[in-house]
């Protein structure tokens, strides 16, 4: 079985009709000055999925994520979370880990978490305690003294301690050591198994994540290059990596 490439990706993958999509983009376009950053991007992520947003640097992944968070309005097209348009008033349904985000370096991890607990109305102390354990975060450590991996784990902890149903992670593995990558991947799976949450994760790190994704969205040069159910790909003898190579080689 071979998947038609660049076919009508919007409808070629049957979305589980019983589940409303957690994320839906319809012809999302973004122009900044005269440059087209995103060009009619359309896809759907069913609720409860762990989806990968894959593409090379400069493909438009971060811009797409910023649109989903409501930070940047699209020039045209619609982006929806649970069938309602994105925007600042929808911030409560999503938890976002920005690329190269920074936590205040002068705070200790514990102080930061107390601050975050006060910032987010949907903060769960129980979840935080569980994740501190699972991610091996040291509350006493000053953020400025952390390695990239330690800070990435604390950022993920912050993101997952909220109860928001949609989690958007932009390059959570960038510059992160292998052990931290593994514990991040493990924490993500642990969260997903409740079936309550939907993840969209932008990453270059296909090897670490390919067994985790159930769906991948491929974008390059601001355009949609495919949206696949990963087990369907594998049933056709293709891996996430081979699919990525075919599309971007």
């Amino acid at each position: 079985m071979t998947e038609p490439r660049n076919s009508d990706f919007r409808f070629s993958n049957a979305v589980d009709a019983a589940k409303a999509p957690a994320i839906r983009c319809r012809e999302v376009t973004l122009h900044i000055k005269k440059k087209t950053i995103l060009d009619r991007v359309s896809f759907e992520i069913p609720a409860g999925s762990l989806a990968g947003l894959l593409g090379p640097n400069g493909a438009g992944k971060s811009s797409l994520m910023r649109i989903l968070t409501g930070m940047v309005p699209p020039s045209s097209g619609q982006a929806e979370l649970f069938c309602a348009p994105v925007g600042p008033e929808r911030l409560g349904v999503l938890s976002f880990l920005p690329d190269r985000g920074q936590l205040p370096p002068y705070l200790g991890a514990g102080e930061w978490l107390r601050l975050a607990a006060g910032l987010y109305p949907d903060w769960s102390e129980a979840r935080m305690e569980e994740l501190i354990e699972r991610l091996g975060v040291d509350r006493g450590q000053r953020i400025g003294a952390m390695s990239r991996g330690q800070e990435a784990r604390l950022q993920l902890l912050t993101c997952l301690s909220r109860q928001a149903p949609i989690i958007i992670l932009d390059e959570p593995f960038a510059g992160v050591d292998m052990v931290s990558r593994e514990s991040i991947a493990q924490a993500v799976v642990g969260e997903l198994a409740d079936g309550e949450r939907t993840f969209l994760i932008a990453t270059h790190d296909i090897r670490e994540m390919e067994n985790l994704f159930d769906r991948i969205v491929l974008i390059g040069n601001g355009r949609m290059l495919g949206c696949h159910d990963v087990e369907e790909l594998r049933a056709g003898g293709r891996s996430v990596e081979s699919c990525y190579r075919e599309v971007f080689a």
Binding site: Q186, L192, A193, G195, E210, N211, L212, R234, S239, V240
Partner: protein
């Protein structure tokens, strides 16, 4: 409480271009057949297994469903999932695995123009 088997990613060899659940089913069946997973062994929950193997929970769910359909594992509500203690079922599964292996060998023999018996005889021939 019977011993619980915690899986590590190193326990499985996965080919990323084949459905993962199929490979988990095959490899767990083999573990049960060779007695590495003893009858009555408790298996981790879907969530635990998915987290420790770093795979999508749906993959483990499908794996357990298939093993359950084959009668090799049983789930008791509130207690967990266990390797069956039914040695007849385990014996049948071992026989099925043997048949599948022989069928693959027969294909190989055919591909070099031999029957299985001829191939085995040839391979065992003294120099």
């Amino acid at each position: 409480m019977p011993p619980i088997r915690i899986w590590k990613p190193e326990d499985f060899r996965l080919d990323p271009s084949r459905p993962l659940y199929e490979q988990f089913v095959e490899q767990v069946r083999a573990m049960i057949a060779r007695g590495e997973l003893e009858p009555g062994t408790r298996l981790p929950s879907v969530r635990e297994a998915a987290a420790s193997l770093r795979v999508n929970p749906t993959t483990i769910m499908k794996t357990y469903q298939e093993l359950e359909r084959l009668g090799l594992i049983v789930t008791y509500r509130g207690q967990g999932t266990f390797v069956t203690e039914d040695t007849v079922v385990i014996g049948e599964s071992r026989r099925d695995l043997a048949r599948e292996a022989v069928a693959r060998l027969e294909d190989t023999a055919r591909s070099i123009g031999l029957t299985l018996e001829q191939m085995l005889a040839l391979a065992r021939e003294e120099e």
